[in-house]
Each structure stands twice: as C-alpha cells, then as structure tokens.
C-alpha cells in the first residue's frame, strides 16, 4: 500500500469530523473518497497532507509512519495535493505558479540565489522547462505568461493540477477537481486523471460528480458523518444499501415524516 490510514480521528469542538477511518491505497490506482456534504472528506485530506495533526490514529506513506509530519516534509516525500477552494498564487503568472511546484527538486540556497551563481541560472532553466511541460500536460501552454488572476475558473482548476504534477508526486490528492466545471472541462479532467494512472501516479480523489467517480475509480471509500460507511469497487458501492440510504436519507426521512403526518 502506498497510503495507509489506521483508525484516523480528529474532532473539532466535540464534533467527530473524522472518526476512526482506515483504508489502504494500492500504488498506481485511482482511489475515490465520496460522501454527502460534511462527511469529512476534505478534513481527511488535511489530515493526510499534514495540515491537521490527527488526535488518534496513524498515516503511513509507502510503509513509513508519517503521522504528524509537516506538509512541506510530506511534500518532499512525494505527496502533493490540490484544493477544493482554489489556492492559486494570483500575483504570479501561470508558469510561475507551476514553477513553485518544482520547489522540492530545487537545490540552491538563499546565499547562492542572492549572488545568482551559475547553479541558480541552470536551476531556473531546468525548473522552467519542467514547469512548461507540466502546463502542457493539462493543456494550458497558451496561458503560460498570463497572470494567474486573469485565467478562467476551469483553467485555474487545471493550473492547480499542473502545479501539483510539477512536483512529480508519487501520491496525488485531488480535492473536487471537477467542482464548478462544465461537462467539457470535466471530461478534460477525467482524461488527465486517466493519464496519471498510466504514468504510475497514485491518485486519491474527492469528488461529487458521481459519473466521473464511477468511471475512473479502482476503489471507492464512502464516508458519512466522519465515519466509514462502505468501501469497494464502483459496482459494489453503487448497490450498497447503506450508501443509498446515506445519499437519499434526507429525502427518505421526509417521505416517512409526510406519511406519518
């Protein structure tokens, strides 16, 4: 397993945002985490990527216990992620945004940077080339020199993916990459994720677009109220009564209330 969580838990003000969640992700697969709003999906991502420290439980990355490590240390171990609410460097160009993604591969220090030693020039050249390639992979080459703030929403979603990709992750967490995207943009993102799987990048996906999830996931983990509801292949999850209940629960309850009233 490239990623393994063991009874991962965190609570905010008495609410169990994530409660004893355990799962394992096999290398080179697409693993999706789904669940109703407030199920704890993004909190789970924040726990895995080091932004939150779990109250109990552990996270293992390629077999190594990384629980409580800071996000930058995890990034240097090959974990990268995108954000549901975009975290773009708006004052920088699209290409510069992606260049920042190369940070963990850059070796020059502040002193050599101040003096602009030849190593810095070589570094900049390599970083720029790799960033341009990552931008090309998500189809944004045309936007390279534009300030990121001027890009349309769908392009910003892909820019975040390119930035994460530029860090050459072994494990990539995508938090609702298709949210707010039109069907054409969603299809583009689906194609991008499929290519990741072929390139051996393991993808953990949080997504509300069920067609996208069912199409590309090797396994699906279902959360509700912070706890695991079910896990299995798309076919298994689709027919699971507990999952159907969780997704249709409110409607179901209303009907029952109406019948009773």
């Amino acid at each position: 397993m490239i990623l393994q969580t063991e009874r991962l838990s965190i609570a905010f003000g008495g609410v169990h945002a994530v409660n004893e969640v355990s799962f394992g992700v096999a290398p080179g697969t697409v693993f999706s985490i789904i669940g109703p709003n407030g199920a704890g999906k993004t909190t789970l991502f924040n726990l895995i990527s080091g932004l939150y420290v779990p109250a109990t439980g552990s996270v293992r990355l390629a077999g190594e216990d990384v629980t409580g490590l800071s996000p930058d240390k995890l990034a240097r171990r090959g974990l990268s992620r995108t954000f549901q609410n975009l975290q773009i460097f708006f004052a920088m160009t699209a290409l510069e945004n992606v260049m920042v993604g190369r940070h963990r591969h850059e070796t020059t220090g502040m002193l050599s940077d101040l003096l602009h030693l030849p190593s810095v020039a070589r570094q900049n050249h390599a970083t720029r080339a790799a960033a341009a390639a990552a931008l090309g992979r998500v189809g944004l080459s045309a936007y390279a020199t534009r300030p990121a703030g001027s890009l349309p929403y769908g392009a910003l979603k892909r820019l975040e993916i390119a930035r994460a990709l530029a860090s050459e992750p072994t494990l990539l967490l995508l938090d609702e990459p298709a949210a707010g995207c039109n069907p054409v943009e969603t299809a583009e993102i689906e194609a991008i994720i499929r290519q990741f799987a072929r390139d051996g990048i393991t993808v953990v996906l949080v997504e509300h677009d069920m067609r996208l999830v069912m199409n590309i996931s090797d396994r699906i983990h279902v959360l509700a109220n912070g706890s695991t509801l079910a896990e299995g292949t798309a076919a298994q999850v689709r027919v699971n009564p507990a999952v159907i209940e969780a997704y249709l629960g409110t409607q179901h309850a209303q009907e029952q209330a109406r019948a009773a009233g």
Partner: protein, 314 residues
C-alpha cells in the same frame, strides 16, 4: 528566460547611470547630501520590500535595525577602538542575529498581530538606546567617529553620495537576483498562499525567517551609513516615525518593485526638504501629496506608472 535577466540588468544599469549623471546637475554640495540620504534610505527600503512586497510580511519596527547598525558604529569605535568599517559589518551581523532570534517567535503571527509585534520590537530598541545613556549618550545622542578607510577620513557629502549610490546598486542587484530564483519564487508563493506553499514542499517558517534576517541586514547597513554620514546619532533613528517612513517608502514606490523603493525613498526624502519653503503648511501639504499618490496610484508609483504606460511591472 534570458530576456528577464537582460531586462533586469538593463534596469540596474539605468539606475547606475542616473546616479553617475545626476551630480552634473547639482548646483551645490547640499544636493549631494540629499542624494546620499535618498540612496541610504532606499537601501533600507529595498530590504523591507523583500519582506513586505515579496514575502507579504509586514514590519512596523524596522527602524530598530537602523538603530542597531547606527549605534554599532558609535559604540565599536568609541568604546572598543574598533575600526568603523568593521563595525558596519559587525552591526549587520548583529542585526541579522537579532532578527533571527526575534523572528522565530513573532513570524508565526500573521497580519495585524505581526505588525504589532514588530512595532513592539522597534519601540523596545528605541527605549534601550534611550536608557543605556552610559553607552549611547541617552536621548541627546552622541557624536559618531568618522569613517576611516585606508587612513582616509570620509566626511564630504559628495564622497558619501558615491558610497551610498554604489552600495544601493549592489543591494538592488542582490534583491533582483533573489526575485528570479527558487527562494524568490518561494517567497512570492508564501505571499500568495501559505497553505499551498507548504504542500508544495516550501518550509514557510524557514523562508520567512531568512527574508526577515536579510531585510534586517539591509536596514542595519543603512543605519550605519546614516550615523557615519551625519556624524551624530540619537535614539530617534529607531523611532516609530522612522519605521513608518520606511513602510511608506515601500508602499509609495510600489510593493515588490525594487525601482519603486528608490522612488519611494526619493519622494519621502526630497519632498520634506522641498516643502520647507511653505513654512507652517509643510506637513499638511506633504500629507496631502502622499494621499494623492495613494489615491491615484494605489499600487505604488512604479507599478502604477508602468500600468498606465501599458507595460509590465518592473
């Protein structure tokens, strides 16, 4: 990009050329004095700009580092018999060390909280300089021994003009180098989103501390020059007003613009001198002019003018 590098060097060469040609139009030695002050304050402003304009971290106490640099060239030569030039470097090292120690706890704070913490640091330095009268001469200050280089006593305004201009060009070059580098990109990324920076492998705390330390060293060297140039120093060098002036230079010239720091320093050094003809209304008019600049060029003078000309920011 090759063009970016050559672009950068062209801008620097232009500033150097202006510095060399400007004295041809100076009617009197007094103008050398004003010019030297502009370059000295511009040096401090560049350092603060790296912190504020690039990394997005405010400091309302940077005059504290002016004071550390200034008083080191007073105390070192006067009490310890050290050469002044060595004390400039010693003050820079001391300021860097102080920034490193102070920065570790306070740079965890954000926005207004960081502003108040740095303000506290500046006030603290000013109080120490005022109260340690045995070493510092107290509120009235003391005479600073002149800089001696190779048996040559440096005192003329024209000489200081050249020293300040040359140091400014070097300081500007280092700052420009930093911008187009892995560290520079990391700093700008931290400004944009700390969360995104950290998940991309950037050690946010370490980078903030590094740029705070570098900016303190810039301010310290400027403070040493100021003390040596004036030949006298008082705790006013570390005063709150001084810190605010430095921030105003950065914001007025343009956050993130190195050329802007020079322009901001020039405006805030030259305008008060030019406005003395207005006597009682001097400060009112100065305030109105600054407000006017910020209303009409809210991004600062250099980015604002560049925007009006349809160009990219420099």
């Amino acid at each position: 990009m090759q063009t970016l590098t050559s672009h950068r060097l062209a801008g620097l060469a232009a500033i150097g050329l202006i510095a060399v040609l400007l004295p041809a139009f100076f009617p009197s030695a007094y103008y050398y004095r004003v010019g030297a002050l502009v370059f000295i304050f511009a040096l401090a402003a560049i350092g603060l700009n790296l912190l504020m304009g690039f990394a997005g971290q405010v400091s309302l106490g940077h005059a504290g580092f002016l004071g550390i640099g200034g008083y080191t060239v007073l105390i070192g030569p006067t009490y310890l018999g050290l050469p002044s030039w060595l004390c400039i470097l010693g003050g820079a090292a001391l300021s860097g060390a102080v920034a490193f120690l102070v920065g570790r706890p306070i740079l965890r704070l954000k926005g207004h909280y960081l502003a108040v913490a740095t303000l506290g640091f500046g006030v603290l330095v000013a109080i120490v300089l005022t109260n340690e009268a045995h070493w510092t001469g107290g509120p009235d200050g003391m005479s600073v021994p002149r800089l001696v280089l190779f048996d040559w006593r440096v005192r003329g305004s024209d000489t200081w003009y050249w020293i300040a201009a040359a140091t400014f060009v070097v300081g500007a070059m280092l700052a420009l180098n930093l911008i187009d580098s892995p560290t520079g990109r990391a700093l700008r990324a931290i400004h944009g989103s700390e969360v995104a920076s950290s998940v991309l492998g950037i050690d946010v705390a370490r980078h903030k501390l590094a740029v705070f330390t570098v900016s303190a060293i810039y301010a310290s060297i400027a403070g040493s020059y100021l003390a040596l140039f004036n030949g006298h120093i008082t705790p006013e060098i570390s005063g709150f007003i001084r810190s605010i002036e430095l921030v105003a230079m950065v914001v007025l010239g343009g956050m993130g613009s190195i050329a802007g720091s020079l322009v901001g320093a020039a405006v805030l050094v030259v305008l008060p001198q030019a406005l003395t003809v207005l006597h009682d209304y001097e400060h009112v008019v100065l305030g109105l002019i600054l407000m006017g600049f910020m209303i009409f060029l809210p991004q600062g003078i250099i980015p604002g003018v560049a925007g009006l000309l349809g160009g990219r920011r420099t």
